[in-house]
Symmetry: C2
Subunit: 160 residues, 2 copies
DNA sequence: ATGCGACAAGAATCGGGTTTTTTGTCGCGA
DNA sequence: TCGCGACAAAAAACCCGATTCTTGTCGCAT
């Protein structure tokens, strides 16, 4: 593959990251350009661009750099690059976590851990208890009757 | 529908929650039995059971009760019960958040906010820049070259 | 038996101050 | 022009004590 790909300036223009950020990220090991000129100037590969652009997106979504650090780190561990068709991945970002959504499920980009609780399972599990004296509803409505009249301000347990 | 469904004892046996918990949850408005006997004894509906069982699962997954509170609260807001086929839902639990996975995507059960970053979009966006002087890889490998030799312990910026 | 109130241990949250991280800006040198 | 080092502001993480929440246990009333 070609040695020269993208200069810092190009990458900066393309990804929206500042030169300062690229430099700092290289310095702290988040992502170094895969090539360098003999003069020590950065040359980022297209693969680098993908990672940088992803990171930039996460940043814009409010994920802190430290979190991104961990994410990238475990992504390298948990994504078998040969197998994973990248186009089918999605990153789901909420305030605190970054999930990797895959066709087969989802897992936490930080820990790689996966906890999925299909509601269907719960229904199945409960249905075996229905003989205990209940009707059999056909239309499930979940959480329909939570905290209606009793206010959450009522909890004065340890007081007089 | 039938008035009598499940007594506290039954619910306790079925869900694995203690009577104490059921009582406290009722008291604090997390979930009250939808029926009561004239004597003031609890009668939980099957719908209640689903909610309780879900909550129990979240508890077991390490989600704190306060978080569950918020989850249930926003779930009631964000799930149009009439439309949502419950069997297609999954709760994705990671350390800090509870996500509701739906066929069309996922959203945070706490805030209802949704940020999905399909990697395919990133690729698409980048491909328009390829003329800038790069090769055209056919096999994407992401995050393959992150933090290899340069240690993260190197960042001594503000020092001498 | 079930509900209810009281007390207490343990867990979780909150608030504020401190430390670390991240980024902008400037200046120098190749 | 690009990289590099230094200083400083802003943001994020961290720590720790205080507060609040959750749950177990006991005793009493219905």
């Amino acid at each position: 593959m070609a040695e020269h790909c993208f200069s810092s300036r190009q990458v900066s223009r393309i990804t929206g990251l500042t030169a300062r950020q690229l430099h700092y990220w290289q310095r702290t090991g988040l992502l170094s350009p895969s090539q360098q000129t003999s003069g020590g100037h950065a040359r980022y590969s297209f693969t680098d661009l993908i990672a940088l652009k992803s990171a930039k997106r996460l940043l814009d979504a409010g994920v802190s750099l430290q979190r991104i650090r961990k994410c990238l780190h475990s992504l390298t561990r948990f994504l078998p690059t040969a197998q994973m068709p990248l186009r089918e991945l999605s990153l789901v970002v909420t305030g605190d976590v970054v999930l990797v959504l895959h066709s087969t499920g989802a897992f936490d980009a930080l820990s790689g851990q996966e906890w999925v609780l299909p509601v269907a399972d719960i229904l199945e599990e409960l249905e075996s208890w229905q003989g205990d004296g209940a009707y059999r509803p056909t239309q499930w409505e979940l959480f329909d009757d939570v905290g209606e009249d009793s206010e959450v301000g009522t909890q004065r347990l340890n007081q007089g």
